[in-house]
Symmetry: C2
Subunit: 767 residues, 2 copies
Amino acid sequence: MNQYLKHDEWSIVEEGFNPKNARASESLFSLGNGSMGQRANFEEKYSDSSLQGSYIAGVYYPDKTRVGWWKNGYPEYFAKVINSTNWIGINVVVDNEQLDLAVCKVDSFVRVLNMKEGYLERSFVAEMQSGIKVKVCAKRFLSMSSPELGVIQYSITPLNSNAKITLQPYLDGNVINEDSNYNEKFWVEVSKGLTSNGGYLITKTNKLDFEVGHGMVCNVSLDGKSIANVTNQDQSSNHVSCNYSSDVSSGKEFSITKYVAVISSLNSEKDNIRNAIQHSLDIALSKGYSTLLKEHIDAWADIWVHSDITVEGDVAAQQGIRFNIFQLSQTYTGKDERLNIGPKGFTGEKYGGSTYWDTEAYCLPFYMCTHGQKVARQLLIYRYKHLEKAIINAQKLGFTNGAALFPMVTMNGEECHNEWEITFEEIHRNGAIAFAIFNYIRYAGDTEYLANFGLEVLIAISRFWAQRFTYSESKGKYVMLGVTGPNEYENNVNNNWYTSTIACWCLEYTEQAIYLVKKNDPSRYNNIVESIYFNETSEIATWKVIRANVYLPYDEKRKVFLQQEGYMDKEQILVKDLEPSQRPINQKWSWDRILRSCFIKQADVLQGIYLFEDRFDIETIKNNFEFYESRTVHESSLSPCVHSILAAKIGKIDQAYSLYLRTARLDLDDYNKEVHEGLHITSMAGTWMSIVEGFGGMRIQNDMLIFNPSIPKGWKSFSFKIWFRENLIKVKVAHEEIIIINEQGPSLDVKVWDKPLCVNSSSLIKI
Amino acid sequence: MNQYLKHDEWSIVEEGFNPKNARASESLFSLGNGSMGQRANFEEKYSDSSLQGSYIAGVYYPDKTRVGWWKNGYPEYFAKVINSTNWIGINVVVDNEQLDLAVCKVDSFVRVLNMKEGYLERSFVAEMQSGIKVKVCAKRFLSMSSPELGVIQYSITPLNSNAKITLQPYLDGNVINEDSNYNEKFWVEVSKGLTSNGGYLITKTNKLDFEVGHGMVCNVSLDGKSIANVTNQDQSSNHVSCNYSSDVSSGKEFSITKYVAVISSLNSEKDNIRNAIQHSLDIALSKGYSTLLKEHIDAWADIWVHSDITVEGDVAAQQGIRFNIFQLSQTYTGKDERLNIGPKGFTGEKYGGSTYWDTEAYCLPFYMCTHGQKVARQLLIYRYKHLEKAIINAQKLGFTNGAALFPMVTMNGEECHNEWEITFEEIHRNGAIAFAIFNYIRYAGDTEYLANFGLEVLIAISRFWAQRFTYSESKGKYVMLGVTGPNEYENNVNNNWYTSTIACWCLEYTEQAIYLVKKNDPSRYNNIVESIYFNETSEIATWKVIRANVYLPYDEKRKVFLQQEGYMDKEQILVKDLEPSQRPINQKWSWDRILRSCFIKQADVLQGIYLFEDRFDIETIKNNFEFYESRTVHESSLSPCVHSILAAKIGKIDQAYSLYLRTARLDLDDYNKEVHEGLHITSMAGTWMSIVEGFGGMRIQNDMLIFNPSIPKGWKSFSFKIWFRENLIKVKVAHEEIIIINEQGPSLDVKVWDKPLCVNSSSLIKI
């Protein structure tokens, strides 16, 4: 852990400058707006260690697969998110000396991420090597209302002397990825040019020919008075810049506003990018800084009004959940069905910016409840559109009859990861995709989706499972050989309980879905049957036989489901007995040692119990929770939230609370010593779940919202809002009362602690 | 399979030119001399598909590890063998048209690898696009007597017209590896220059600074008369060449002899490479072509007199074994203790030219019996010198107390492969290294080796195994979790029978070795105990407990050892029921399908039974052979030889014979459709074993040679020779008689079919 940030309800605050935390802060103070993202790199030069990151949604690079020994079935390429044109850059020169926080003395450094209004502010006093002290203030935002726009306001004031100061805003396409395979540049220049007080740069990816254009226009003022013209302009390969120089008297402020428009070929014809940039900048200039900022703040206000969670009496917990909601909301807006949510969002290179099962298993509930059902549907449609590619992927692996295996990692529906134990074996993702359909429909009541989109996906997934089980003569059961479960600290195991359980559930739910669609929309059903050559009788019969005879490992003595066959052969050590110096084990131990140990990255048995909670009695949940929680190191960001929810379920509120802090403040307090690489965006949706489903005890049962709330003892109250079908419901839980407000929509039947209630339009009910 | 070569007892013969076979022939006709190797690329230009390969022993490149997700414990680099300066090149221009077999019409193409005398010959008639026909003859060898020398004789005769012909011998360092990670060049020029009738080029590897110098000098003659001077010379970056042009009358032969000296920084001070080249070329020129060739042929005669195996009555079988012996002998000569035997020798890029367990498990017996015990000892010393690095490697993986894990793949004692299932889990290599010590000592009687070198290695290996077993509470046994056995079509399995068996054997043999050294050389023993902090009492006690309680999976019903726990859960299909179109499965199936299937790359249970044969009754061997042979696809080159030996052991001579052909002609007939990548050098020693130990039934028991011969019914006889301690013994087996000749050394007690015999010096005994 590394706790250097101040606790604050609405802001992330760093006071004082410590280069050791520079990369961590670059991640933590990242900004995004669904269309692009920017790590909190400094505008001015910084010559110490830094991970430069500016990412454009949907733009990636297909890096060539290079492995020791080629395995048949590997994709030719793996997709990676690429660092694109540096558009925030403003070089600052004070009397011929370049401002660089790695070189000068830094004082009064404060950095604030204002989550309520969505901007980043930074100020400091720097003492140059010449002895001149300057005060710098910088503020920037990526507009939520005009998603192609980024705006920076940057000012510098000499404090103890007059100085000649040059501000040099630039656009620089000579950027690389830190994880680059070839130390190659991914971008080539398409065109560039200078304009009055600005310039533009259009670059193209080496492969796939994505084009991204950046344009800037600057306003500069001295002591509040506008300086009309640029002093000098420059362009070189993949680079344009403007120079603004002025003699600045001590105490006078020299400031610049840099408006940047970013247009990619995903959103514009290539030959129109230049015009689109100009158009956007013209509007920006005409509106001006204050108006743009106000529109941006208003857009954030709209987001918060539906998604905010309050926690009274615990600033760290309050800050944690808002940070999570803020990051989720600036990563994905649901406006573009081609986009999805990468595990690190726009905050780092790792995980390639691609889509994982995280979307379905973690993110869907958050967006569904706070951003609305349309956004959730958008996420499902993303996979529906990839069904054909998933069928081709399964064929490549030897499956037939229209079986589908969705990719573990994808940008466009094609698998783009190439480690066999992940690519070929982490097949539980198929289960998460099916579950998301079920989850969406039970929540939104959108059975039309099932007929028109969902059923085809479900059948293709069930066809995969039916072939993926193997009948074991020796066990007289169906076994699932060679899989990697969500607990990636085991690879290539047999009979992973979670995978086999969700596979069986898929077979069962698909059968139900078939009967439902057949009944409700027989002609659509017949169309499906014909188009995919579905043999209802024989295929369903096979599924039934498999479901009834699946081998699920169980430990009779301890009354727990076994993560996989053979798990009890491991040396059984508990996490509490692990030397702290050995953690995180993924940084301290070799991979084979991790694989052989009993330690769990995320407990997939608990993941399965969480998903199918109704099937297990409370004693079973308790046994499994105690067994697995004590062996789980939570080195997957996706882990603590599920444990927190189950802990709340079984009444272990203190433990639920500490697990909540672990998920909510995972990055803020850097539990796993890796925040410098980027934030854990997708697991932030798990934080949301751990309040709403954990402490809030929210479930859907038989089309009805139910709540079984509990509250950590240090909290005075907590509240959240959810969209449920036509209703916007606010729930506030305190120690002595539960308040449910129907803020929008018709009257709604809910249950609280098994007590039915009818919440009328705009009514407020206390319990 | 692809059978396009003529059967011949002493030669490999290709008649007719088929570009489809070009890469395969480049592998099959490779030459080497222990110091360097050269694929059978053409001297003249060839613009069609070709794998250029010229390799220098001990020179490699540490290619940077690039993986999807980094695993702790991975080496930073993996070593690869690199294609070095093209020294065979001779461009041929006929009336301004370049000779290129991919372009012209080719007739009367014959290529012959003369294995008895160690040279490659090629001749053909080419019709140029101009209509001119030329006859070309080329012959080359890599000198076995002067291992820095390669010599080429190349002649061209216009057949139907006079022509202006230019021969342009060159040295070209602008070469790449086909498997290059970066498409980078590995070599940079150090220096180059031209001499009268020649030139030199010294290049250096980008990393590790290996330097390799090539020098050439040429004699050119027209119609048998020497042409004094070069017409023209040229040098460009990393390239030197000479031009010899002449008007050649129809029917006259224009010929060149190109002498090339290759000196690397492994064998010369860097600043002396230039001189060493010149010195070597001066000697070569003064000796001349005929003398050099004679010395080379004599050196081969010396090799053959001790290593030849004859098979009467079966040309394909005879050719196969000689091809195997020839390739082994030109790959490794035992003269340099820094060198070892890569799985592909000098014939391709794959497997990086590095050392694998193949050396100990397969190659050692061949070199020990045919090249002498000193060569075998050299191979053991190679590992002894790497013991410290093996201990560091084990520490990196979390092992303590001086435990050693030797690398799976190495150039210099450091692990240089980075796939976790191989690097971290294929730990059986430790067992093979221990077994090689045992095997060498039982064969050579060199107990001094045990005290001075072997014991330290054995204790370090046993310390590894003692920590690598895990006590399973649930089984009440010691289990071995997370290993990959020799059957690499299973990864990360528990309780691989072979690995656990050889681990137990190591613990047992180390204990015996300790007592032996303690008795024979107590002061040396005490030194060892002190230097490695060996606690004899407690460590041996631990080993005994483990050995007595190891879990070895066994199938009661079928009476077979189980390859690993859970093997019987797989769908049990036999290889005979596999569609031929599905083979080799490693080219047709995705990796996960292979892993889930019951099919076996090489049957490691049989490997274990082969190593510890005395521990199993014949019924057990039969049961296991039948069970595993029927499930083995032999897609490891190391597989069929062991099966052949066991088949002979249990009296299945027909099956032993067909398995013998599979190992002996694996590359010649391209059973596994991969000979274009290079030859399977290390498994060729298995071919040798399948005759000597298989049909010859040779074993060592209680310091005595024993033979239990059998003979395939199509053979008239077979014979082999072995060095055994001071004796050179020849064994000839026919259907009616067995002849044992003691060619050298004192009288020797042996057993044939359990009958004791004393073979006197130079005596001949018939049975």
